[in-house]
């Protein structure tokens, strides 16, 4: 489904060049539930952005269903991202001036710009129900708890029926109860045939994935049951 081949990404730091990813190759298959762990600054988020078509690699290719993602025009890439890929971020990144419902619906705008999308509205209502946010649909993000915000962000990521869901530290700011709830949603998404790529520090969250990797020194290492980062 998603194939990263010999991907390299370098950033220019204050004193030196930092090679975050080095000739990294990695395949994400349909219905995979992948977790990637690693120390802060090791390049987990970069890998996720790169795989999701948001950040162009310095070298190597990222192919979605056999087509080079970065070979598309910005418009087409945006369109693919909108239809195929969903995001959940650690910082919840909801638009403060939109209500819960509007925040979810905003994800439908790239496709239906001139008229309200009836299907999207129905789907939004369904997602609000599913994430137990129906009663809060008219509230603004400032009135929500962190867990509620994360559920809204999750619902927004699912609105366009993505095939792959990328999540960057989705439970980072949540209490254990809410973290469990969110993880349950990931499980459900995979059960429904979706693919999840999860970047996390949390060992327990990572353990829910069927494929677990660790990122170290620009390389991805397949991790079995016992983690290679006991400290994390």
């Amino acid at each position: 489904m998603l194939l990263l081949e010999n991907v390299t990404k370098t950033f220019i730091g204050p004193t030196k060049r930092i090679e975050v990813l080095r000739n990294l190759s990695f395949e994400i298959k349909a219905n995979d539930f992948i977790s990637i762990r690693g120390e802060s600054g090791c390049g987990k988020s970069t890998l996720m952005l790169l795989a999701s078509g948001l950040m162009r690699p310095d070298s190597g290719t990222v192919a979605l269903n056999g087509k080079d993602l970065y070979g598309f025009s910005d418009k087409d890439l945006t369109s693919i991202r909108s239809a195929e890929i969903g995001f959940v971020f650690q910082e919840l990144l909801l638009l403060p001036y939109l209500t819960v419902r509007e925040n979810i619906l905003a994800a439908s705008i790239p496709d239906k710009t001139s008229k309200p999308n009836r299907d999207a509205e129905t789907e939004t209502d369904r997602l609000l129900d599913r994430f137990a946010m129906s009663k809060r649909s008219g509230h603004y993000p400032s009135k929500l708890s962190t867990g509620e915000k994360q559920r809204v962000a999750f619902a927004r990521a699912l609105l366009n029926g993505p095939k792959v869901l990328f999540a960057d530290e989705p439970t980072g700011n949540l209490d254990p109860d809410n973290a469990v709830k969110i993880c349950g949603y990931f499980d459900e998404f995979v059960k429904d045939g979706g693919t999840v790529v999860l970047v996390t520090h949390d060992k327990n969250v990572a353990a829910r994935a069927t494929k677990r990797f660790a990122l170290s020194d620009g390389k991805l290492i397949n991790v079995k049951d016992n983690g290679i980062f006991p400290s994390s």
């Binding site: 950040m55 971020f89 990144l93 638009l95 939109l98 439908s108 705008i109 309200p116 509205e121």
Partner: protein, 423 residues
């Protein structure tokens, strides 16, 4: 949910920055409309002043001319009585009448009951060579004014020229170098200079006046005259034609001409009155035009400064707004908004600010002109050019969009991945 819904919601969410941006656009548009209106008001006021002035000047000119006419009339006019057979062409060509008439005509006229003449002056004029000075002069023999028996006694306008005395025109006494009391010789006779006249710029400057009897003797025209000057005929009582008719009845063998200088003087006086009025009007127009130029200069300095400040301000506000929305732009990109769609959010917002601001500015500018029109009692529509207002209303949103775009560009140009990653 549409793109416009997002713009609308954000518009009200960041209401402070929105209101300030709208105010900046409104100020620029209002200033533009009000300035144009002020200049138009100045023009209207100028037209009104000039028109009023023109009417005043026309009235004053008419009044002045009437007054000058009356003054001229009361000054009287001069009549020259000539022999009937005198060819006027010769008179004008030679500067004196070649034909003569008996000198008792003067007595006849003086003892008649003529009422329209105040003063009579018998003349014997001749252009002669002044042998001693070897130059041609106009010699006039006169005896001073003859009193009209029926007229009230008035102070004579011309003094009697006593026998043996001579009066000299400016050019003559000046070239000879003599003055009052000097002695000069004229055609072999010695005369005492009784008067030297100042420059007049007429043929009087080359004229000399001597006693009539002496002149008759010297020119061999004893008992003859070639003109009687009737001075200061009172046309308040009689017009020149009436005077002519009255004299013609008393002296049938004469003809009468109006002495041109007086008539011309009156005409010139009237003309000068008109010229003065025109000059006053021109001066007013010039002064108003100069004042308008000054106002234009002032407005065209202040206006671009004001509009420029507003434009820069809108750009800065747009930049501030874009900075505030940096994360928002990143997340929108991440959830599927293209760069163009995110830019559209900025542009639609700027357009909305531009449209609302320009309409608000136009309304404010118009209200200001209404107040101005009421105070100055000028029709408000004479201060407004609809095309100009439409132009301002259309131009302001375009400018706002450009400023908004330029202001937001540094943020819009950022990599969304960097923004998301940074968050």
């Amino acid at each position: 949910m549409t793109l416009f819904s997002i713009v609308r919601k954000e518009f009200f969410y960041r209401s402070h920055i929105t209101i300030v941006a709208i105010a900046a656009v409104a100020i620029a548009v209002a200033a533009l409309i009000a300035t144009a209106g002020l200049l138009r008001l100045f023009d209207a006021s100028t037209e009104s002043i000039i028109s009023k002035k023109e009417k005043e000047v026309a009235d004053q000119t008419e009044q002045l001319q009437e007054e000058y006419r009356k003054i001229g009339t009361s000054m009287g006019f001069n009549i020259l009585v000539l022999p009937k057979d005198q060819d006027l062409a010769d008179l004008y060509a030679n500067d004196f009448a070649t034909k003569t008439m008996p000198d008792w005509y003067i007595d006849t006229l003086a003892h008649s009951k003529i009422a329209t003449i105040q003063h009579l002056l018998p003349l014997l004029q001749q252009k002669v060579v002044w042998p001693e000075q070897k130059r041609t002069v106009l010699a006039v023999g006169t005896m001073g004014e003859v009193k009209i028996a029926s007229a009230e006694t008035k102070k004579p306008m011309r003094d009697n020229v006593a026998s043996g005395t001579i009066y000299l025109g400016y050019e003559l006494h000046n070239s000879i170098g003599c003055k009052k009391g000097s002695f000069v010789k004229f055609m072999g006779r010695q005369f005492t200079v009784a008067g030297c006249y100042p420059m007049k710029g007429t043929k009087d400057d080359i004229t000399l006046w001597i006693n009539l009897k002496q002149a008759q003797e010297m020119f061999g025209k004893k008992g003859l005259l070639n003109g009687i000057l009737a001075l200061e005929c009172q046309c308040a009582m009689a017009k020149p034609d009436q005077v002519r008719a009255e004299i013609g009845a008393i002296l049938p063998n004469t003809q009468i001409v109006e002495f041109a200088s007086q008539a011309l003087t009156r005409a010139e006086t009237r003309s000068k009155a008109a010229d003065y009025a025109k000059a006053a009007l021109l001066s007013e127009k010039t002064s108003r035009a100069s004042l308008r130029h000054e106002k234009e200069k002032y407005f065209f300095l202040v206006l671009p400064l004001l509009i420029g400040t507003c434009v820069v301000f809108i750009g800065v506000l747009s930049y501030v707004n874009a900075r505030q929305r940096r994360t928002e732009f990143g997340i929108l990109r991440a959830i599927g908004f293209s760069a163009g769609r995110v830019a559209a959010l900025v542009n639609v917002r700027s357009l909305l600010i531009g449209v609302i601001g320009s309409i608000a500015g136009a309304v404010c500018g118009f209200c200001a002109l209404i107040v101005l029109a009421m105070r100055t009692r000028v029709g408000v529509w004479s201060l407004v050019d609809i095309a100009e207002v439409v132009f301002a209303i259309v131009l302001a949103p375009v400018c706002t969009m450009v400023c908004g775009w330029l202001g937001a560009m540094p943020v819009l140009g950022e990599d969304p991945a960097e923004i998301v990653k940074g968050e």
